[in-house]
Symmetry: C2
Subunit: 296 residues, 2 copies
């Protein structure tokens, strides 16, 4: 029988990852704050538990994927660390502040638990197909031990950024900032095309099959030309704003001026000021389109 894994957080991204682990044959004990949202995973053999600590086995591995710094801090308290105990590993997959990751790493180490930062680069459908990317940082032996779990869960590629727990989160924030920048860039471009007699879809096709032939431009560009902004978000505008706030917080603390990050943060703030629910973060493209008088 394969190892028992704890899994905390069955949101849009946690759910397909936990499902993949179950399909790969792992025993998975799942905790989610809203228990009903984890229910569908029972059918795949998951055991639902009532606290983060109850998901842990001594010296075992717990993976977590929750919404923000506060949520990670609240699940990764003393109860969980004691339940994992010496030799245990916490694989922290949430997108959080590098500083929070470093602080948690120290707290974990004090209890003999290894903290591995392993933020997920994947939208839910990519995680499900196990073609996502993982960036990891933390203690070497722990990283080696959890590698098969990342591969079984969602990752096609794993990039190792060394021992500093914060490093993986720095790169994750950069990745999300660059996606937001790409969305802004395409939104301004497609607005210029439309206002000057060029079909935005023709511009999209040309650019994303040549100079910008990459998954981000292809995928998000398609969502922009199709105006898929509102309804059933794979990654919500609220989470996008949280990440851009983390980018600016990290930039501010390290004295790194990032005017493009300021711009996309403001775009997402406007989206949330207007559409409180159901907006995908691609909706930040609405800013440039609406500013140009293009009705959406």
């Amino acid at each position: 029988m394969m190892e028992t894994i704890g899994f905390i957080g069955t949101g849009n991204l946690g759910t397909p990852i936990a499902a993949n682990l179950l399909k790969a044959g792992y025993q998975v004990k799942i905790y989610n704050r809203t228990r009903e949202k984890a229910k569908p995973l029972e059918a795949l053999g998951a055991e639902l538990v009532d606290s983060p600590a109850a998901a842990a086995v001594k010296g075992g591995i717990v993976m977590s994927l929750v919404s923000d710094d506060k949520a990670v801090e609240s699940i990764a308290g003393n109860d969980l660390l004691q339940a994992l105990g010496n030799g245990g590993i916490h694989v922290s997959m949430s997108t959080i502040s590098p500083d929070t990751a470093r602080m948690l790493s120290v707290q974990h180490e004090a209890q003999g638990v290894a903290y591995v930062a392993a933020p997920v680069f994947a939208r839910p459908e990519a995680a499900e197909a196990r073609v996502g990317n993982a960036v990891i940082s933390g203690p070497a032996a722990a990283k080696e031990r959890i590698r098969p779990l990342l591969e079984a869960g969602f990752a096609k590629n794993i990039f190792d950024l060394g021992e500093d727990a914060g490093s993986a989160n720095v790169l994750k924030l950069i990745g999300n900032f660059m996606i937001a920048g790409a969305i802004e860039m395409m939104a301004e471009s497609f607005a210029l095309a439309e206002k000057n007699g060029v079909d935005p879809k023709a511009a999209y096709e040309m650019l994303t099959t040549t100079l910008f032939a990459s998954p981000v431009f292809r995928g998000y560009g398609g969502m922009i030309t199709e105006r898929k902004f509102i309804g059933n978000p794979a990654f919500s505008a609220a989470l996008g704003l949280k990440d851009m706030n983390l980018v600016l917080q990290t930039a501010g603390r390290s004295y790194t001026p990032m005017p493009l990050a300021n711009l996309v943060q403001a775009r997402l703030t406007t989206v949330l000021a207007r559409n409180t629910k159901d907006a995908d973060w691609t909706a930040l493209a609405m800013g440039a389109l609406e500013d140009a008088g293009i009705s959406i």
Copy 2:
């Protein structure tokens, strides 16, 4: 014997394209304002002439690739149009204002000459290897006739945007704006990495082999991490600024606010204020790096 083609403008990009035409067996009559710069092409069989009109044969094709709107207007005057005459074609490959292209198109048509806009998407080495991209707009029959020349000269792919002479230039400006945006995005990102303990080259490798695995991010990102900003520019900061000014001019005329275009225009302006010569336009990345106190 193959057709005689006129070619005007043997700069960084015109030179490899004219050379490819000669290698493909075309007779090429070349005009360049500074005659000596075209000299090396004589060895490949080119005939150097002393005026734009002298490059034309009646009913034939003249291709031009010069630096800006004024330069195109000065070469494409009555002399050239009369020399080309009825059935002639002017393939205008320069990156110019869509409005200028439309005005020229009307002037050409009045003399029976077809104006085809065909701006070049390629750095010189890509043009030389004939893996560049062409975007064309203009009269259908003329576009069909010049297609083999674009393929022989530089283009792997040709995208047809219809009859409006301005359309190809709109898309060319969008492409250059997006490259500039990508440079700014990476510069801010690599500065954030460096200031937070992550090797910018590791960030570059991860991002440009996954989410941003495209020629622009791979190529320009490498130039940024290698700090290849000054010296022997393939595309100068001065030309980059000219293009961003065209983007903002087109945006202003069409009431399309483009804050990211404003930002990259300002970055390039600063480059030119400090380094008047020999800066590649990738040097716009120096802005975000230097603002973060990173010495270059």
